[in-house]
Amino acid sequence: MSISASEPRYALAGTIGFEEAQEPRLMGGQCVQCGVKVFPKPKICSVCWGVEQREAPLATRGKLYSFSVVHAARKGWPSPYAIAYVDLEDGVRICAPLEADLAHLPALDTQVELVVGTLRTDADGGAVLSHRFKPLQEAR
């Protein structure tokens, strides 16, 4: 019943894909009929009722719309942790853990980029992974 270390567990199944260069991508859905992108991929398009949805890698960069540092977490969640809304370059808003130094919090509208990392530890002690965003390091 145990999940081997080589098979990562994701908080949201099927949302992380890897490109050829092994760079992670956040996978959403795009409606084949009307083109709207939604995360996570739905079974039906809420705009046009199209049921054909293609897997769509979403933009890996966006702007930090808002965030909060959560101190009062639900049971089983390590705290404090930062949670954010990120507005991706392709028009999709994502709720995501924010990977940032909690002593030096970023300003809103800071550019952020996708990373994949540990969200929390499940009851068996295994890591649960998810998409996260971190402030973009300016090229030096």
Binding site: R74, R93, P97, L119
Partner: protein
């Protein structure tokens, strides 16, 4: 549509009562409202019960100890708006001619869930990556502070105001005023919120008796008329949206002002859904009490305090009176009925003739909120 009046109102003090059974939390409010109306239990033709966490048959369980059985009981769940949804359905049932006298009960016992943050909605992906309800409002607050220059100290004045009025309300969970320093220094919950920027969880029940207009003359009590009761749900937006605007509330407010002909300037007293400090400010704007970005000036001017132009949350609001989720809408209505009858004691708004209640909530990814219910009353 027939005219409808509220002729009975009652509630118990909101608090944490883990030792009380759910049914024993509920029946005193029901009995109180029927006695307040000068009626007997057999006069009630149907019951609408709002509860968010009460489980199956919440209404029947609360009514059984009173022997109020064998009549239609409709149980309504709409998160924070459950009690107000029950009220709206009861009002409509009488207005449409189905019944003449109906009872509304709002009830929840959150102490059953233990303490701390309420459980998130299962299968909600935002919850699965760590979103909590305080964090959602904290994000609204942070964006609002960024966009409109609101400071954390100003935000804290909302809590000070709530607790100042709650101290005048014997039905409030918290009846002790707090200082600005205490609000600022309280332990962090979801930055920028500390504990006193967030409403407590609690247990409570509130009940109302509604009556068809043509039968009101038979009542001994001065009626308060239902001008309108509006219910709406959140719109699903797939892209970006401005979370500093309470879209569902603004839309609901627009609809009820149109429907009733009441202007926001006409409102003498209001109970709004201040589950978190930022919420009260956002709802001043969404309900048309002031322009966008100006809510803190309205509060700081004293306009929304006792003695001001538009007193808001004289009960102490959710921040001080408490928030037994499914009971809240009914408890807000009880407060406004008391205000319009001149029975609100030390927190009475002198000469109040038009009252408004507003509750909204229920987090669902992609929606402002699940539900929003707004009601307007006139003497």
């Amino acid at each position: 549509m027939r005219k409808v009046a509220v002729i009975g109102a009652a509630m118990g003090r909101i608090g944490r009562y883990p030792e009380l059974m759910f049914q024993d939390l509920g029946w005193p409010a029901v009995k109180g409202a029927i006695e307040d109306a000068g009626l007997e239990r057999n006069d009630i033709e149907a019951v609408y019960c709002g509860s968010a966490y009460g489980g199956r048959l919440a209404g029947q369980r609360a009514l059984r100890p009173l022997g109020m059985t064998g009549i239609p009981v409709v149980n309504c769940e709409n998160a924070c708006s459950s009690g107000a949804t029950a009220f709206r359905e009861a009002w409509h049932a009488i207005a449409a001619g189905r019944y003449d006298r109906v009872l509304v009960l709002g009830i929840d016992k959150l102490s059953m869930l233990g303490g701390g943050v309420l459980p998130g909605q299962p299968e909600d992906w935002e919850v699965d990556v760590g979103l909590t309800m305080p964090a959602l409002y904290a994000m609204r607050a942070r964006r609002y502070m960024h966009d409109f220059g609101l400071t954390r100290e100003q935000l804290s004045r909302v809590s000070v105001k709530a607790r100042r009025h709650g101290a005048l309300n014997p039905y409030a969970q918290y009846q002790k005023p707090v200082t600005l320093e205490e609000v600022m220094a309280a332990r962090p919950v979801a930055d920028p919120f500390g504990l006193l920027h967030c409403c407590p969880t609690g247990d409570g029940a509130a009940a109302l008796v509604l009556c068809a207009g043509e039968l009101v003359a038979q009542s001994t009590i001065r009626p308060v008329w239902v001008a309108g009761a509006e219910l709406t749900s959140g719109r699903f937006v797939t892209g970006f949206r401005d979370i500093t605007t309470a879209e569902i509330t603004a839309r609901g407010a627009h609809e009820i002002y149109e429907e009733t002909g009441v202007d926001p300037q006409d409102v003498d007293v209001a109970e709004v859904h201040d589950a978190f400090a930022i919420a009260e400010l956002m709802y001043y704007e969404a309900l048309g009490f002031c322009k966008k970005g100006e809510a803190i000036h309205l509060l700081e001017s004293g306009a929304t305090s006792l003695g001001g132009r538009i007193p808001v949350n004289m009960s102490g609001g959710l921040l001080s009176k408490g928030h037994p989720v499914g009971a809240t809408g009914a408890a807000q209505i009880v407060e406004v009925i008391w205000q319009l009858r001149g029975q609100a004691g030390a927190r009475q708004v002198e000469g109040a003739k038009v009252g408004l209640t507003h509750c909204t909530g229920g987090g669902i990814a992609g929606l402002d909120h699940g539900a929003c219910a707004i009601t307007i009353f006139k003497t």
